[in-house]
């Protein structure tokens, strides 16, 4: 059964974002970038996540800045719009800035969605494929952060109860906080040694180790991987055989090679809208099941 991208095996999720963000970053063909931006924004708003509104505002401001930046710095191009200090502001350079801005914003949306989707358990799964020690270190540090935060609070309360925490003035407060931090470090290092000894005592460094992997690759994952690989290979064939031609200087022009480009764009369209399509399919199925009940 095919599931959504974010519920599939982490390999599928990672491969999906590598494809979309990779194509977006390395193929600056204007129509493709527009499709990518639309797909990325749609996917961004269908996943669960925090501070979506403020990210969009940030992206919009960045977009405006990036569009303005290129014409001010680069003066290549034939069509001069106006002159500032005797230097031309050209239409081509504006188009180039616009194109780069769309690319960067689209890639930012893909990566922000990846941050929402790739939770720490998935990251640990992915790194465990590379190196078991590395994934262990990552899982430990992720676990240490809330532990240390809690311990810091405890130390602070104890210091206050003992009358050693002094926040009369800024210097006193800083000194007290440094003291708390120092206690915390000693505690953390000693605790770390204890953890290590305890691991050793349970036979950590003896023999081969396996990893905890609660996700398997099933038929649905393989199906998704095949679909994505197929779409990606269509796009790659299109690039290699000279499709997606464009140039900005000296005159902006976008060449359309007929069927080849259309095929490539259609494949990328399928790729970037895949999560939304899968999601729609799942919700349709849910409605259908509800109706049967």
């Amino acid at each position: 059964m095919i599931r959504r991208i974010e519920d599939s095996n982490p390999i599928v999720t990672f491969f999906y974002f590598a494809c979309t963000a990779g194509v977006t970053m390395f193929v600056p063909y204007p129509p493709l970038l527009v499709i990518s931006l639309i797909g990325a924004v749609m996917y961004f708003y269908t996943v669960k996540g925090e501070h979506k509104g403020s990210f969009t505002i940030f992206a919009f401001i960045l977009f405006l800045l990036l569009v303005i930046a290129n014409p001010l710095v680069s003066h290549k191009g034939d069509t001069a719009l106006l002159f500032i200090n005797g230097r031309p502001i050209t239409l081509e350079s504006f188009y180039f800035g616009l194109n780069s801005a769309v690319m960067i914003i689209a890639a930012l949306y893909w990566f922000r969605t990846l941050t929402f989707v790739l939770t720490s358990d998935k990251l640990i799964y992915l790194t465990s494929l590379l190196s078991k020690n590395l994934s262990l270190i990552i899982s430990m540090s992720v676990r240490f952060v809330p532990l240390f935060t809690r311990q810091r609070r405890k130390i602070k309360e104890t210091q206050r109860a003992m009358g050693l925490y002094n926040d009369d003035s800024l210097t006193h407060e800083i000194r007290s906080n440094i003291r708390i931090f120092s206690i915390l470090i000693t505690w953390a290092l000693e605790g770390g040694i204890t953890t290590a000894d305890s691991m050793e005592a349970r036979g950590f460094s003896l023999g081969r180790r396996t990893c905890f992997r609660n996700k398997r690759i099933d038929r649905g994952d393989v199906g998704l991987l095949v679909i994505m690989a197929g779409l990606l290979s269509v796009i790659l064939i299109c690039i290699v055989s000279g499709g997606f031609e464009y140039s900005f200087y000296p005159k902006t022009r976008i060449v359309s090679n007929g069927t080849k480009d259309i095929l490539g764009l259609a494949a990328f369209c399928g790729l970037s809208l895949l999560p939304v399509i899968l999601k729609a399919e799942v919700s349709l199925k849910w409605k259908y099941l509800q109706r049967r009940v």
């Binding site: 963000a21 970053m25 390395f26 600056p28 990036l66 930046a69 290129n70 710095v73 680069s74 780069s100 960067i104 890639a107 930012l108 990566f111 922000r112 990846l114 941050t115 790739l118 720490s120 990251l123 790194t127 590379l130 190196s131 078991k132 020690n133 590395l134 262990l136 270190i137 990552i138 430990m140 540090s141 992720v142 240490f144 952060v145 240390f148 935060t149 440094i178 120092s182 470090i185 000693t186 953390a188 290092l189 000693e190 605790g191 770390g192 040694i193 953890t195 290590a196 000894d197 691991m199 050793e200 950590f204 460094s205």
Partner: protein
């Protein structure tokens, strides 16, 4: 004798491949493939260096204690990035590199970058940040004897790392935006990044000056007490 030779050759391969071979391949690749491919090649090279390091890391026997200490330092660096305006990752990577060896320094720098970016935004720059912070920790480990003895030198190293970090990251910004290197845009990027560069420098120097002695005493104590 053979043992030492092998070990040397081993470490030469382990460090030489990620830090020398891959960057030179990257330069050669971008020259051979011509314009427009700098971005792809630089990203691939940085990613490959990190991958090789990760794979080599698993083959090596590192003590359990050292591993847990690395995790503790990573967590502290990662948590410290939430301090507004200041950034202690460099300082933590340098301290770990000096006291626990260059490999541990690389590990702490790169992992702290990877993990903290889950809160500060992942992006293609993650790869470069991981490599930059990792290398800062790595070279601190290589220079550990001199840096440990000489406090002003350490602070200069910290400030220099802040500047270099900013310079390297801006090369990447320009490559990404412009699909090729442009000196004008690079200058603009450097100028617009001055507040960040200053903040990196100040926080590196500040955190190294504040933390190096107490951390050093504690790490040294743990090392002597438990024989890591």
């Amino acid at each position: 004798m053979l043992m030492i030779k092998n070990e040397r050759a081993g470490s030469l391969i382990r460090y030489g491949v990620p830090f020398l071979l891959v960057p030179s391949l990257a330069v050669a690749g971008s020259l051979a493939l011509g314009g427009g491919s700098h971005l792809l090649v630089s990203l691939a090279a940085a990613g490959l260096a990190l991958l090789l390091f990760a794979v080599g890391f698993d083959r090596k026997k590192i003590g359990t204690r050292r591993m847990v200490i690395c995790a503790v330092m990573t967590a502290l660096a990662f948590a410290g990035r939430f301090i507004p305006f200041l950034n202690p990752i460099t300082a933590m990577a340098v301290i770990t590199g000096i006291y626990m060896g260059s490999e541990a320094g690389f590990l702490v720098g790169s992992l702290a970058a990877l993990l903290s970016n889950f809160y500060f935004g992942q992006g293609p720059w993650t790869v470069f940040q991981m490599l930059a912070w990792g290398l800062i920790g790595f070279f601190a480990g290589v220079l550990s004897k001199r840096l440990k003895a000489n406090m002003p030198l350490l602070l200069i190293y910290g400030a220099l790392c802040g500047v270099m970090y900013s310079f390297i990251m801006d090369i990447w910004t320009v490559l990404w935006y412009n699909k090729g290197f442009s000196l004008g845009l690079y200058g603009a990027a450097l100028v617009s990044a001055i507040p960040y560069t200053l903040s990196y420098m100040v926080s590196n120097v500040l955190f190294l000056a504040l933390l190096f002695k107490p951390f050093g005493v504690k790490l040294e104590r743990v090392r002597v007490k438990y024989g890591i």
